[in-house]
Symmetry: C2
Subunit: 132 residues, 2 copies
């Protein structure tokens, strides 16, 4: 299978497929003319890569365990767990940060309606510097 067909089958752009190769995530054979030749397993492999990318992992992290998860069930790959845990901590920190920003925005928006605070007994006046 050549790169165009793999791209069509997986939804990954040709550019991305070449990038994955440059990052060491996939290693197609080369034909005599220099064209990449992908094995049929490459399709699943690319889907796997894209799935982990959607989870927010970097190509570097994926490279660290891809060889394992491609050859056995994920939960037997001990390399994966710390990556997941670290990513989870990142995500939760991001969520917390976004939640703070969201709360601040909600407050500020409600102040436009001249309504009372979501807090308890605070002044309803909202100055720019009220919440940092």
């Amino acid at each position: 299978m050549k790169i165009g067909e793999l791209s069509r089958r997986t939804g990954a752009s040709i550019r991305s497929l070449r990038y994955y190769e440059a990052q060491g995530l996939i290693a197609p054979l080369r034909e005599a003319n220099g064209y990449r030749e992908y094995s049929p397993l490459a399709e699943e492999q690319v889907r796997t890569i894209r799935f982990y990318l959607q989870l927010g992992l970097t190509t570097e992290q994926i490279a660290g365990f891809l060889h394992c998860v491609l050859s056995r069930p994920e939960q037997f790959c001990t390399e994966v767990l710390p990556v997941y845990e670290s990513k989870l901590a990142d995500i939760e920190a991001q969520i917390a940060q976004l939640a703070r920003i969201r709360d601040n925005l909600v407050d500020r928006i409600s102040s436009f309606r001249g309504e009372s605070d979501s807090g308890e007994g605070e002044s309803t006046r909202h100055e720019r510097s009220e919440r940092y």
Copy 2:
């Protein structure tokens, strides 16, 4: 006040102060020698800019209403509300997306412990492609 002092007072790097100027957020006078001369009000102005940046707004968005919020209480600046609402929608979408990823990670991590789902009566088997 020259740029070094303003930087010290606000915590914004000199580089950033020049950037804010390039983005049209602040317009210091120039002395005969070319040095920027900031009015005392610039300190509050920069704090305001930084606050909005912390909220995740871009310099372009800030430029759209900065002139207003510097001259009157924020909630009288009608330009601000749609920016807030749009940003809030963004943030909530991001939170939702991150929450999906987080749930997926939590699931996968728990599968390493061979434990039951956090869901109700689902299979405990976790394949890579289970949740997209």
